[in-house]
Amino acid sequence: MTAGVQGQLYGMSGSRSVTAWLNREGATLCWRDEAGQILASAPLEACEFSDAPGGAAAFVTLPDGQRFETREGSALLALGGGAAGFRRSWLSRLEGHGGAVLLAVLVTALLLYAGIRFAVPAIAAEVAEAVQPSVAQGMDRAVLRGLDEGVLAPSRLAPADRERVEALLAPLIPGAPSHVQPALAFRDGGEVVGANAFALPGGQIVVTDAIVELLPDAELQAVLAHELSHGAARHSLRRGLQFSGLAVLWSWVTGDLGALLTLLPVTLLELSYARDFEFEADAQAVERLVTIGRDPEALARALGRLSPEGSVARSSGYLSTHPPTVERLEALAAAVKRVRGRDENF
């Protein structure tokens, strides 16, 4: 006759085990074999209960080192009847409580949102601010070297054309923060880069031959104002830092699961930061152009001219980080209106 909680009873010195049935007799736990012979017994208070989270196996450790393993964890707990060693941890209860789990989901989502929306950009901006101009310019040289080995070729522009572009940039520089030393780098972007301009971490602006040939002076100047604003706000430096910040946040949540493709959410979030920066640079370019008395609508025209030709919409990499041209044009029109309205009030 066998009754009680069934499991395996292990000796203290090895893997040998016997099937045993556990019963409580007053304040004593008693293990019996199939025939009802007593195998072991111990005072309840001296025994220790443990179980795997999620209720797989449960164990009782006897004071002499023998151990009892069973699948009937709930029956075992009931048998212990709340004795000191026989309680589920508060964590087990938390995990078993639907409301607590839901709360944990919400807390995590909220904290992650706050981290992504506010903490990461704010910290990245602080750190970017602290980077020495010489360090940032060193990065520029390294990035440009990499690009030169890859997609960029030496420029074929005539010296007169280069001087013309330099002259467009010069009036924009006053008013930019002292740490930015915008220098132009002329390159031939070939098919891949096309008509394009972009700012490097230290403020250097790369313009391709194609964009110089494509855009009239006023529009080219507007594009330079946009890129200068990227440099002044250290956008590309901040993007790098934000990406690292997101990756840290992400690995913190996902733990050891660091497979390649799982970085996709990080990349997507980073791209959304990048699009915010585009709107910001557009708005600041408008300010700069108005300050030096140029037509701020030239930037919208430049965008329109770059877009149908396909170089903005189609090329991958750098430019897929940009918002749709239509949205940018709308935001630009609003920015122009805002700046004009403000100036008229003065």
Binding site: G14, V18, G54, A57, T108, D256
Partner: protein, 333 residues
């Protein structure tokens, strides 16, 4: 006699007994999300408790021949190791950033610390693993560890990777041969050339993906990602099979039955699932991977598992394991 041991019925012929994994996505999701919330709320301090909780769940839901594994590590030990590891990582990064020759010191120190790290890490993990009231342990020492983890890797680097499969074989054999279950030692007959075939096959997969992406640039990112994952799945599955197939504990031989395509499918679909769910599917991904891997690993039980004797196991600190994790070492099988 343990009734649930199949070998008990026919003591003379070994019986193949796969590991059984009973973990469940929803159950683990509850544990995981509480872990994440508490870790974030405590600025990471709780992560030591979270690690213990996670391991206890996975160990507790892994059974062999009716008995369950147990994870015994103390969260405080892990927290201490983790704090020191983070400090070490900060110092390491700070010093290697310096433009002077000082920057060379940490990598050199790291090279000499590596064998110690691996040994301590395995010792901690194995000493905190219990099965049938008997603990595992690791007996690897510094000298042989230095040989397999530093010298063989240097040799692999100097031969441009030609000796890498041999170096990895030496490492795996070192790990298996220094693992003990109670007083019983594991043995390994893994031959030197064991990893060359899977390595060359994996290399072939990468080259194939490279050729395909050169021919069709439009599919290049997809082909390279899938090719890389396939190569990884193939190499990890086939080497694990070979290591296990050559390993023995007493009269019981291990066997791995992982197959490349199903394993690759688990890994790839997991990655897609996690990415699309913005991380919420992580618990299911971990459960799926563990289920596939564990249920394709087994032991040819000769007789039963009743005869192992327990040993006194010295409790080791978690520092080695936490340093190893901080420096992103992939230790163990």
């Amino acid at each position: 006699m343990d009734e649930s041991t199949p070998g008990a019925l026919a003591p003379s012929t070994p019986q193949y007994t796969p590991l059984e994994f009973t973990g469940d996505g929803w159950a683990y999701f509850r544990i995981w999300v509480v872990n994440v919330a508490l870790s974030v709320l405590t600025l990471g301090i709780y992560s030591a408790w979270a690690k213990v909780r996670m391991n206890r769940y996975f160990y507790g839901h892994t059974q062999l021949a009716g008995a369950s594994f147990e994870y015994l590590a103390e969260p405080m030990a892990i927290l201490k190791g983790r704090i020191i590891a983070v400090l070490a990582l900060v110092i390491y990064s700070a010093v290697t950033q310096s433009p002077t020759l000082w920057a060379l010191i940490p990598p050199v120190l790291f090279m000499f610390a590596l064998p110690w790290l691996v040994n301590r890490s395995l010792a901690f993990r194995l000493a905190n693993t219990r099965y049938r009231n008997v603990r595992f342990s690791f007996t690897g020492t510094y000298g042989p560890g230095f040989k397999v983890h530093v010298l063989w890797l240097l040799a692999a680097g100097l031969t441009l990777g030609a000796l890498l499969p041999l170096a990895l074989q030496r490492q795996q054999r070192f790990v298996v041969e220094h693992t003990r279950y109670g007083l019983s030692e594991f043995s390994s007959e893994l031959p030197g050339g064991a990893f060359y075939v899977p390595a060359l096959q994996a290399l072939g997969m990468v080259l194939l993906a490279g050729a395909l992406s050169a021919l069709l640039p439009a599919v290049a990112p997809l082909a390279l990602t899938l090719g890389g994952l396939m190569a990884y799945a193939h190499f990890s599955a086939q080497t694990l099979n070979r290591v296990l197939g050559a390993s023995q504990l007493g009269d019981h031989r291990f066997e791995g039955r992982l197959e490349t395509l199903p394993w690759a499918w688990v890994l790839i679909s997991n990655a897609v699932l996690v990415a699309l769910s913005l991380g919420l599917a992580i618990p299911w991904a971990r459960i799926r991977a563990a289920r596939y891997k564990l249920s394709h690993v087994g032991l040819w039980i000769d007789g039963d598992l009743e005869e192992f004797l327990a040993a006194e196991v010295a409790q080791s600190s978690a520092l080695g394991e936490e340093l190893g994790e901080a420096f992103d070492l992939d230790i163990g099988l």
